[in-house]
Each structure stands twice: as structure tokens, then as C-alpha cells.
Symmetry: D2
Subunit: 486 residues, 4 copies
Amino acid sequence: MGSEDRGLGFFKDIGLSSNNIGSFIDGKWKANGSSTTSLNPSNNQAIAQVTEPTLQDYEEGLNACNEAAKIWMTVPAPKRGEIVRQIGEALRAKLEPLGKLVALEMGKILPEGIGEVQEIIDMCDYAVGLSRQLNGQIIPSERPDHVMLETWNPLGIVGVITAFNFPCAVLGWNACIALVCGNCVVWKGAPTTPLITIAVTKLVAEVLAKNNLPGAIFTSFCGGAEIGQAIAKDTRIPLVSFTGSTKVGLAVQKIVNERFGKCLLELSGNNAIIVMDDADIKLAFVHESIYKDVLDQLVEVYKQVKIGDPLEKGTLVGPLHTRSSVENFKNGISTIKSQGGKILTGGSIVESEGNFVQPTIVEISPNAAVVKEELFGPVLYVMKFQTLEEAIILNNSVPQGLSSSIFTRRPEAIFKWIGPRGSDCGIVNVNIPTNGAEIGGAFGGEKATGGGREAGSDSWKQYMRRSTCTINYGSELPLAQGINFG
Amino acid sequence: MGSEDRGLGFFKDIGLSSNNIGSFIDGKWKANGSSTTSLNPSNNQAIAQVTEPTLQDYEEGLNACNEAAKIWMTVPAPKRGEIVRQIGEALRAKLEPLGKLVALEMGKILPEGIGEVQEIIDMCDYAVGLSRQLNGQIIPSERPDHVMLETWNPLGIVGVITAFNFPCAVLGWNACIALVCGNCVVWKGAPTTPLITIAVTKLVAEVLAKNNLPGAIFTSFCGGAEIGQAIAKDTRIPLVSFTGSTKVGLAVQKIVNERFGKCLLELSGNNAIIVMDDADIKLAFVHESIYKDVLDQLVEVYKQVKIGDPLEKGTLVGPLHTRSSVENFKNGISTIKSQGGKILTGGSIVESEGNFVQPTIVEISPNAAVVKEELFGPVLYVMKFQTLEEAIILNNSVPQGLSSSIFTRRPEAIFKWIGPRGSDCGIVNVNIPTNGAEIGGAFGGEKATGGGREAGSDSWKQYMRRSTCTINYGSELPLAQGINFG
Amino acid sequence: MGSEDRGLGFFKDIGLSSNNIGSFIDGKWKANGSSTTSLNPSNNQAIAQVTEPTLQDYEEGLNACNEAAKIWMTVPAPKRGEIVRQIGEALRAKLEPLGKLVALEMGKILPEGIGEVQEIIDMCDYAVGLSRQLNGQIIPSERPDHVMLETWNPLGIVGVITAFNFPCAVLGWNACIALVCGNCVVWKGAPTTPLITIAVTKLVAEVLAKNNLPGAIFTSFCGGAEIGQAIAKDTRIPLVSFTGSTKVGLAVQKIVNERFGKCLLELSGNNAIIVMDDADIKLAFVHESIYKDVLDQLVEVYKQVKIGDPLEKGTLVGPLHTRSSVENFKNGISTIKSQGGKILTGGSIVESEGNFVQPTIVEISPNAAVVKEELFGPVLYVMKFQTLEEAIILNNSVPQGLSSSIFTRRPEAIFKWIGPRGSDCGIVNVNIPTNGAEIGGAFGGEKATGGGREAGSDSWKQYMRRSTCTINYGSELPLAQGINFG
Amino acid sequence: MGSEDRGLGFFKDIGLSSNNIGSFIDGKWKANGSSTTSLNPSNNQAIAQVTEPTLQDYEEGLNACNEAAKIWMTVPAPKRGEIVRQIGEALRAKLEPLGKLVALEMGKILPEGIGEVQEIIDMCDYAVGLSRQLNGQIIPSERPDHVMLETWNPLGIVGVITAFNFPCAVLGWNACIALVCGNCVVWKGAPTTPLITIAVTKLVAEVLAKNNLPGAIFTSFCGGAEIGQAIAKDTRIPLVSFTGSTKVGLAVQKIVNERFGKCLLELSGNNAIIVMDDADIKLAFVHESIYKDVLDQLVEVYKQVKIGDPLEKGTLVGPLHTRSSVENFKNGISTIKSQGGKILTGGSIVESEGNFVQPTIVEISPNAAVVKEELFGPVLYVMKFQTLEEAIILNNSVPQGLSSSIFTRRPEAIFKWIGPRGSDCGIVNVNIPTNGAEIGGAFGGEKATGGGREAGSDSWKQYMRRSTCTINYGSELPLAQGINFG
């Protein structure tokens, strides 16, 4: 059955077919490894085949990338911005089919799939402006006829390893900034979302070609741990941006640090929402005085949520990404129960060909060990607290430090929450849930979440090399700190 | 013989005596470990005794420090700045005796000893201003009735592990900034410079006491690897600033990362000076056309340099810090010779009670393995080059990336040197040597030097926790990236 | 004769015809004043007719604009950025015909005409990024439970009065920034370039309409002093950005200040180029040692320059903009002669239907009064100097402070030139002429040039209202400076 | 009777006597004008005599200052910071007697007098840090082998004209920043507070002398409009910082602008406090639902406030500054009555030798013309409102735009108040009154208040000259905007 027959008519709009080559090396599509199948999480049927690269392909790609780096880093930054602008335009023209592909291959619902692509486009627009603002500083020197400069230069190559849950937005956060900063990008997408990796790379490749720039500026690989490890070990890659679990992230960091490289880590999260007694809206630490009310409403809502095909209008919860995620969910639920958790709604697998599970609300003690782990699935733990201080201690007691939120209308609670003794997360929201970060801010988390920051604010500095330069343009050699020999 | 008889009359000005307690714990001087002797590197005679802390002392210190952190972080930043200002005044009043102590115990010449103390004072002055400029940001949100904030909050406790070569300036870089940022400081000085650690701590302690603040805000330990390791492992210390060798630094980083802490590393350097053919002054990659001239002059100068007691006027080269440094020097010279290096001057140990060695010039091929290592001693390698490109490749070929310098009068050479394809070091100087950094800039190096940045510019951000906060102050819940369900 | 017969086929691409309405009011093209003729400076023949607005039209426009301001200022800044992005796309699609129009109506050569339009496009791209970076600050308060914020809010309406010499780029500098900052724009173009004003406005209007936004967000008027004065006096316009002569600028500033408004002034320039004896390239204070050589070459080049139709390939000098500019040139030349100036080449009017004059080189004493005035025409004064100090004094001795340049290869000269005792201009170049500013920097000049800064850097702050907010979120009322009553 | 007998024993601590010379010119105390008497506002008796300078003295002072400027601007900024640090130390040592002098001569109560001196000290501390942070920028150029710099250089001389109400703090805001920025300062204090001007100048003068710097770096004049006008007209003074009434400020601005100078204006204020119905504390637009309650309490408090000698402990309201202020108060009260205002408490002059008046509460319609004027005296207008929108319109309806405050506990009210449609003032407070600004923020107001910003944030930029420098360090001359001739 052809791809159009299976509703994949949009495939050709984005350069995909039933058989695809899974790596873009030195400006060419080329892969000599084994073939892998991309599965639809809604029914576990094959979407298309992808040939993965070998380590030799990797090596060839990196050699070319390393050469391209010498060219790209000397292209003036605003000219690099112009290339990123064109990438944004190319994505904008394919927003709809790319969004569909994300929904299809990853399993998130269509509005979120389109939202992810839109996020790369937003990042492109943002990076264009930034390309004229990668500013160093001129710092007054304490010595006459001297000037101090703080300069920012490209690193050379940035490795980007992304995960299935945000199969393209995270590439956007990293690649748009890395590129305007003068770096080549080596991307390894998630092994289970190869089509997204290929489709996005194709658009970037076309823009590079149209501008007569080496394709190797953007080098991309479908593949798994083998390629990931090659990136981690590669001394040609001064910075590796890794998104994934805390466990794997720590291992990557160790390898990269040993060769004096740097990491930008976006690891596990475990995000709390605190609902104060004066909150307008109801969402999962809940003040005891409103606990019952909030819970009743939540359970009601969860029961009505439509689960199903993410491409279908009205669906609010799509499938989990893989069979093994379903397994994890199942194990998680039984751990929850064994630790005293009470399932208020959901908790079961939805019988179907796909990877569907019920959105689940669990009443549980904050002391249960399971609540300190990241459980990748639609499970909401609900816990009671009495004071804000207590709720903050609960929030900060998990090893992860990604996102957190409070619902309250009291300025003292808001400022306490965002202050020195408040939430210790990287994302600290007020009256909105823990998701939905905007690109103008820096995205990332503390503690076991890894400490990296991506997208806006001064995140770009991580993609550049800082030097402090003192220039003596006079004819004498005075020393700092007033040192005077003799 | 009393300390005054041995020229140590200044000891009592800075609170030292012949027997000293080597840790400041919970605002008290208290140590239950073994006694160690501080030696004068000029004659290897005892200066004074110091009792070191035990791990139990450490634990007591950290418990108190952890409590103090809760107080200190809520003191308004400009009030913290006022405390740091008073510390600066206290140091200023003791500049002379402290400078002498540095020369005596570390072995560097007096002007440099005083320069080091002056550097802490400068850091205090700088940090006072900074205490009103630890600014977060208000970032425009894409959603109506929302605001995004980027906030900076204290980390809690900052561990500072310093090395013998800068026994107090590096504390100044870290502690002044860490304190105004709202962190308590846990300092472990070098095991061979305990008196400096004690003397500086005493001044800080007095200021805290005078202001009725917990002494535990500044907790300090003399001691060695045991205490260092305790700091590295301590989950109460989110940031460890470590100065020392690449080898030890990497090990510290591994331990700290495993517990999700962060490191600020200032590791080994290996610093090159490039002398172009148009340079006004002569210094140690040398353009071949001027190579002979430069070398002849250098050798002449090196031969005349006065080696001796660092406290004596006119001395330009003091002793190495310890006997084992002398041993390292000796081994280094024989390695150099075995790799084809030619000793043009120096190369020998000066026979004496102290740790004196001759300043040494070595003519050597850039391919010799020894030039890629940090050799802690007064050895200058001289190498020829033909083009600036070649000199930069040599400069960048060592694993370390601390400091580097070029002497030239050509703007094109200057900007190439500080640009994307120039020096890959953290410090990139022009027409001044590789030392002498000013505090207004960020100090530190890349690659095996560890990537940390201390003192000025935005180094303070490393001592704080960044959060991106989105506040919804309206009554609706719009989503980012224009996502619209249904 | 139809417009196409006169080579105006491109007119319809940009919404122009032989009769045009010269004001865009409340989203409608509407003008009740007299008709004016746009002339081609190459032959002084009519290009097209334009009906100008009356003061009543102005009033209607401003009323609508004032209402629109209330809406536009509450649109989130990144959404405003999206509108400006679309404006950029609209201009990009019409780059060629708009560039032609600039060449035709203003008289500058085609590459410069296209360059001017490209500059607005670049500004749009830049402003899109900026729309997520109009950041306020969170400043640490000295009082517990207090926070200080520095916020930036829109002004409401920004008036932009532009001059004939940059009939659209200057609009771009101002409007792109003003719009993302949340301001409506009221534009009055130069009276002699009404077609450019209309064509650019049409593109903006379409984008606003397509997005269902009030057209009055961008209100534009062709017209002269009457409309200009209305803007200057209008209390609804907190900021007036004016480009023109120092004389008129001062008058505008007086009127605006009297009503407590602010001005952003880009007034007369009078730009010097210093050629040092070590300069690689030859351009007009010239070091005496190379004076004769430089002058001979310059005269030779000036004689060969092709004068003619700005739309014709190969032309390097187009006509002056109007007949009266030719008259000014003529008077200027005779003043020059009467003050001892010696015409080395050029100095005459080119007999033709158009406003052509010869590019002119004058040897003259720096003491001649005429060199301190802005002479709007292709006249290069050449003067000798002996030392850099002397050349800087000459450069700084004119009342204007727009642009200046030095040609040298000596770092000490470069840093002296850009340092405290160097050029006192807003633009201080090295080894490039005095023109050609990039949008990433702030454009503008000091002294009689008015002190305004447009385009990049932090110029956006001028288009916003800064507030310093102290928020007490605790329950007590401490005072600053430690004041304690009683 | 000697000064000690009159309780002026502290005079000699700060270099004052019964006869004082009122100008510091070229490092010398020298004045040839007439003698003036400083009066104690509490009893209108003479405190001491001061000889004022003539215009010839002024000229001599400015000539010396102009020469000193050439030296001072080339002293490295951190070294200038060290001088300002020493000025801070000198003031700190005299905090008590200087504070007393402010209370005595100006009439404000002692804690506020000391607070004012403390504010200069705080400014000194702040400026020291700033002296290493007067950073320019390195901006990426769109052209290869080019770099763009934004540099900040000293202006030369800054004129500071201060008013009686803040006779020394405002000098501190301006002079501390102006000095570290590399400018000489020419200060004219208020004609009625000459002793404060002299005492502060003496401390600065001593520091300059101790450091072997020209005294003319700080040039100061007691005196009135004649000296003020001389400053305004003086082309040697590129920036005049003026504090005073809107009327005089506008006149000064006009003069300064005509000679292409710049003004930094701190003019009249007229500050509103909005008390919302949910406010915790009670202070002068009051929500109607709590209006009666708030008013009753306010009237009660006002009646109990202790009026009297500002040096006496317990006094909360000192005298007005001069007899003419009392006259203004009297006229103001009668205007208020004639416009329908109802005096709820106070309203009368206190019969005494001094300039005492009663703190006054007036119930009045917002439409009364008098409420739009600055009435320099302790008069509180109380008005009712129904909605926040209405209160903001009232707040914004006065010509002045200095300070404003809201008391509320609702986040939506807070963010509306500080947002685009909120208060149009420079100071926008929440839950604190309209006074008590901290130096870390920028102080100043919009509209008739003049638009200047002093003290913290980026206020320093106003005291420097910005240049955008493009440096071509390559060997070709590309043009911006991709212009390509031929």
C-alpha cells in the first residue's frame, strides 16, 4: 500500500517516502547501516523505513563538518542570521505537514505537533535579531593606554542529541542559536522519530545549498546509543547539548568532561503545581482547605478527557510513544499502589493496537519514594499541605529541578515563591501550569535536571567561547594591582 | 625563639602566633586534628604550627554553615555588600603585614604578595557596587496579562578550594562575589599555606562578629585532600570552586557532578607568548626573522635576574614553594633534555637551604611532548615560527587553554588573534605578557583549564540560581506558541 | 502619456499611479489639501501628482491614532514583532520596484536606492528579535521583602519626520523599533518625496489590514512645514523623531520641549576623514607627508566619475535632489572661493534639464568659516596636518558631530582616535569612509547633529517610558538609607 | 557670640566658621562677590556668613576646570573610582556633623539630614564598582574583517545645579557618577544652603589634594541665578544637570539646547498615592468604599505629628525652608479654599520666629486646577475614586510625572499599575509611599518633571559620549546593506 493510501499524502511535501536515508553527511544523504522501522504509536504499524548510518558514516560526516566549521565561523554573524532566517521561512512554508508528522510519529496531539514546529520558527526569527547582538564588551582598564575586551567566538561544532518527547523543538532551541553563533551543528535525533529528523534536516539542507554553503554545516544522524557515544567522545565537538534521562545525561557528561568538553544538559523533570487556598483556578499540591473541592473537579475532568488518534480533532490525550512506555506506565502504577497510592481515576491501559493509557490521578503521601522519580506518563499525584513553607519543601524535595508552579493571588506568596527560599527549579511559574515556556526566556532546570539553559536570555553564551583580552596600545608595560618591582 | 626574634613581629598584627588553630567553625576557632608545620620556602624552616580539623570538625562547621545560609540569603543584597565593604576596609588596614605573610609562606616576592592582598581589596570594592546590580530581567511575554521574569537567587553555600600559588587572591575572587550573591562560603586553603588562610579568615570573622552576623557565614578549614573530598561530596554545597591541577580538578568535577552539583574550575595553564616581527618589545613563540636577536637579549636578562629572599628589596625571583616543586623542576629539566630541549640558560637547582632554582630558557621543538604539559617552575620554552597562522596553531595545540599573548603592532594580527580563528584561551592578551589580569574582566581558561570564570564581567551568575518565571496576573490561561485545543 | 510609457511600469507593483492621495488616516487613504507634483531630479519633469492633507485631515488622523494606541500598546510585544516581521516580508517582495522609486524620486543611484529599502528590511528582521528582548530589570532592594523593578512601557505615539536624503531608511530605523516597542507611528515624509512615503505606507497598511489591526497604528502624511509643526505641537505625541537641518531641528526641539515632549534629533553632519601617513588607502584631512600623492590620485578619480541618470548602470553620481540644492551648491562654491578655497576639480553645474553638478575637490585652510558649515553637495575639502592631535582638533572644531573617519594601521592611533581625547562624533570609523553604518549599532551624532541615536544597540529605550518601581510585598514599611524616625 | 556658643561646635569638624568663602576655584577657596547670610529656618537667625563669587571668579574656575578635564579624562576609570572611594570614606567619617548641618540649614529633621549624607556615601560605594563596568560593546559586523564597537568616553565637564530640598544627595547622585565617568564637576548649590555646599566641597577637595590631583576637577560655587545662567550658557559644559522648578528648568534647557548642550532635568513633582479597597495600610486617592475610614485615621495622625526643631529628637515635621515658602503655603491654602477645597486639618501658619506651618489635609475635587500644580509644602489632597482605571486617569492627569504609589494586595492591580496603561510617572511604587527611592534604580520623572534619570541603572550613560565605531582591519572595503557599485 502506497503512502498516500495510508493518509501519508503529505509525505512528499516534506521529502519523505517509504524508504529513507537516515543521515546527512557532507551535504549528501548517505547511510550504510541497518534499516529501522518508524512505528505509529497509535497502532504500532510501520510508517516508513529508515537506513541508519554506521560509525564510518559518522566519521565521514564529522570530518566534513570540521572542515565546514572553518568556513562558517568566519561568515559574519548577521550573514549567518540571514541563513537562519531562510530556514525559518522554509519551515513556515511546511508548518502544517511537519506538524502532522510530529503528531503521527511521536504521538502528541496535532495542535502540539504544530506548536513544536512553530517553536523552531519562532527560534529562527529570534536568532536573526540575535545575530546582530552577540555582543562582547569593552571594559575600562585600570592601566593607561590599555583596553580590556571581552570577546565571544564560535566554538566550532555543537553536538545536539534530542529525545522523542520534543523531537524537533529542542533541535530548534539549540541549532538556531548555535548556527548564528558561528557553529556547525551535528544532530542526532531520537531513534524512534527518524522521519522528523530527516524532514527537518531536508529543509535546512535546501537553504544551505541555495546559498552555496557547505551542507556539512548541518550534519544529521538518525540512530541510537552508538552514534550518541561517538558524539560524546569526539574531541572535535567542544559542546554537547543532550536531552534525555538523568542517568544517561550523567554518563554523557562524564565522557565529555574527561576530554575537556562541555555539556548542556536537559534531563529529567518531576514538576509540581501548588494550589493555594486563594487560587482562582484549580489544578497538584493542594492546600488542605480546598483539597476536596479541587480533587472532585479534577477527577471529573480527567474522566471526560478524549483519548485517541492524535491527528483527530478533539483528541486531548494521544498514545504514549512506544510499547515500552506502556510497560513503564504499568510498572509505575503497580509501584504506586505498593507504596500506598490510591488511584482516583485512570490507572489502566486502554486495550487497543496502540500505546494508549488512561490519564491518571493518584492520591499519595509525599513520603512515598515513587513521587521523587520521573514517571513518563499522564499521572498526576495529589497531596495535601497546610502552609506555603511546607509546600515549597515538598516541591524542592525531589532530585529533579525542572519546572514548578503556584496558583495564588497573594503578592507575598508570589514573591516568596520566586525568591531565595522559594522553588529551586529552573522554571518557576505563577498561575499557569508547569509547561508552556516561551522562547524569550532561558529554558532548563537545576539539580538532576542538569543545569543547562536553552532558547532565550543569554543562553547563547553557552554556544560561544569567551576570552578576556587586554590590549596595550601604548609604549609602556604597567602591571595590574599597582605592582611595582624594585 | 619567639616569633618576633625571627622577624615575625607582624604576626600579632594579623592574629597569628607560633601555634594556631586551623579551622573556623560556627564562628569559633576550633580544630581537633593533627598538627602541621608551615615552612618558609626560602629556608625550609618552620614558621609556625597549625592544628588541622578532623572530618567531625568539618561536619560541625557545615551544619552551622547550612543554618547560617538560611539567614544570609534573606539579608538584602546591598546590606550584604556593606559587610563585604567592611571586609575590604579590614584588609586595607592590614595590607602590609598580610602581603609580607604571603611572601613569607608562599615564597612569591613582596610586591606580588602585596599585590595579591590588594586584589582581594579591589574585589571587595567591586562587589559592593555589584550588590546593587545582581539584576534579573523582565522579559516581554507573548501572552496578554502575563509577564516573564528571570530571577537570580543565592545557591546557599559555595565551597572554595584554593591552591598555594595564589593563596588568597583566588579566595577573594570567589568569596567576595559569592557573599554579595547571598551565599555562605566554605573555604579550604592550600595545605602548605595555612597561616594565610587563618589570617584572612580572622579579618572576615571580626567583621561578621561586629555586625552580629553568624560567624558560620564564612567557614574555613586548613587541611588537605580529606577535607577537599568532603567538600566535593557534600550535597549541601551546590557549587564547588576549585583551583588546582587538571588531574585533581577532573576528579573533583566527577564527584560533584554525580551528586548534581556544579563546579567552577581553574586548572592548569601553559601559556604562550607570540612575538611577531613588528613587535616593539621582546619576549615565546618568536618570529624567525627576529628569533636570534630576541633570544640573545632574553638570555642576557635571565642571567642577571636576582634570585633570593622574596622579602628582600630587589629580588625578582623567589624560591619554589616546596621541596617537591624543586624535585618536579629537576625531573622536568631532565625530560626536556631527553626530548631534545637545549638549555640556553639556567636549568639548575641553586644550592641552599631553600627551594631556589634558576630561571631557565629552553630552545625546543614544538613537537616535543613536554611542551604540552604544565611545568610548574620558571622555565621558558622558545620556539620559532614563520606565519601568524602557524604560531596560533602552536598556541592552540596544548591541552590547556588559560592564557596567551601576542606582541605586534598590526591591527590585522591583533584582530585575527582575538577572533574566531585566533587563540583558544580564556585570556588573550596583546602587547602585555600572559599574566596581570584585572578584576573587571572574567578570569579563567578553556579546555583542560576547566572553563570556569571568576572575578568580573558576569561571573557572578555562576554563584546564583537562575529561574525563568512566567506570571499570569490576568484571569485566563492562554498557551505559548499559539496552541489552541479543539 | 501613461506612467508605463515613461518607464514607470513598476508603479502599479507598488500601488502608485499618476494621481495619488497623500495621507493615510484612520486606515483610509484620504486627503483634502492641494495637489503637489513629484519631480524627477534628473530632468525636473513631473513623475506624478499627490494630493496633500489639510490640518483637519491631520486632526482626524491623530484622533484615530490616539485611539489605536490604546489597543496597540496592550498587544504583547512578540505579537507586535510578528506584525513587523510581516512588514519586512512585504518589503522584501517589493525590494526592486521600491529601490527604483527611491532612485527615481530622490536621485540617488540605484544600488543605493535598493540599499535603502534593504535597510528597512534589515531593521524589520532585527526588530522581530528585539520584540522578545525589550527587557526591564529586577534590581535587588536594600529593604527586606521589597523588590525593585525597572519597567519599560510604550510611549503611545511616536512622530517621525524624515528628510529627502534618506526618504525611507530613516523611517525604517524609527518605525520598526517604535512599533515593536508598542507605539503607533505618525510619519511625515519629505515634501519632495511623497511617492516613496505613499508606497511604503501602502505595504504597511496591507499588513495591518490582513491582521485585523487598526490601520491608524501607522498614520502617514505627505506634506510640508504645516504638518511638521502640527506634530511638534501635538501633546498626544510624546516623542518626535526629526531628521533635517540643525536650524529646523532646534526649532522643533524648542516647541516639543515646551510641551514636555521629547525629541530624537538627527541633524546636520559635516564629516571628516583623516588620512595618516601609514594609511593603506587614500581618501580628507591628509598627513602632509603624503598630501601631494593623495591629492593627485583623488583629483584623477573625481574627474573620471560617471555623472548621470541614477537608474542607469555605471552611474556613480546622480543629480542633486532639487533645483534649490543646485542653487545652494553654486552659492557654496562662490563662498568657498571668497574664503580662499582653491577648486582642484569640479566646482561647476552640469548643463542639463536635471540638477547635476560636478563632484568637487577644494583645497582650503581649516580656518575658513565655510568648512564649519554643512554644504549639501559633492564637495570634498582637503586640508593638511602634521600630527594626529592636530587632525583631531580640526575634526572636532566643527559644530556638527555626526561622522568621522581615520585611515591608519597603527593601533595607538586607532585607540587614541576612538578614546577620550579622540573624535567627538557619534560615528567614529577606522579604515572605512564616514558612511555605511550598520543597523546593529546606534546611529546618530553629537553637538549640532542633535544627540539622537537610532537603529541598534539600546536605541529602543528612547521609544519607551522607563519606570523605577519599588514593590513592598511584606507587611512592614522600612525606609531607604536606613532612616529610622524617633 | 562664637559658633560653639550657638551649638555649632560641630562646625570646625567640617571646616566651617562664622565667615566662609563661597567658591572653590582651581583648587583654591576664593570669592570676590558680596556676602550672604545663611539663615536657620527654625528661627530665621543667621547661622554664618558666606562670600559669594563673581562672574570673573566663575570664569577663572571654569578655565581651570577645563584644563583639569584634559587630565582627569585620561586617568583610567578604576583609578577615578579609587578617588571616589576615598571621597566616600571622607564623608563617612563626617556623617554625623554633616547630617546635623543639613538639618540646621535646610530644615529637614535630623534622621533625614543624616539619610541625605548617607545617600552620597552609598553613591560613592556604588560608583567605585561602576568604575570597572562603564562598558562599551563589541557588536558583530555584517562585513568580513570588520568589527563594530560602541565606546563610551567622558564628556569633559558636567554642571550640577542643585536645589535646597535635597542640598547634598542630588550632588551625590550626579557627581559620583560624573566623576567615575571621567568628567570634572562644576557644582552650584542652592543659594540658601551655602554652608552645605562648602562643607561637602571641602571634603572632596582634601581627597583630590591628597592624591596630587588638580583641585579644579571639582569646582564649586555658592550663588544664585547669575552663576546658574553662566553655567547654562557655557559651551565648555556639554551636560547640565539641573534640579528645580519646571519653569526654571525649561528656561535652562532652552539655553543649553541652543548651544547644542544636553540637560538632565529633575523638575517639579506632584505625587499621588492610590489606596485600593484591599490595601493593608492606609495612606491619597482613596477608594470610595474605604474613604471615610482612611480619612478619619489620617486626620487623627496629622493632628498628633510633632512640629518643631529638626535637630530635636521626636520631631517629625521641621520648618519650611524660607519665609517665602511660608508665603507660598499661605497663598496656596487660600487658592485651595477658593477652588472648593475643604481643610480637614492644618492649613495655618504656626506662629513662631521660624518657618513652621501645619501639616494639612485637604478634601478637594480632582477637577480643581490647584491639584495640578506643585505646592511645595505639607499639603495632602484627598480624593475619592471608584475604579482603578479612574484612579490612574487622575494620577496621570497632572502635568508632572515624578512619583506615584498604589496600596493594594491584588496582583492584577499591581501589574496593571506598572504596565502600559498604568502610572505614567518615573517612580511607580507599590505598598510604599512615593518617596524613599534607592540608589540602585534610576531616579527621575517624566513629562513636566523633565525626563532625567540619576543614580543607578544605566544613568551613567548620560554622563558619557557614545560613539559607534566600525573598524576595518582587513584589506578591502565592503559596503553595508550589500551595496555593490557597477
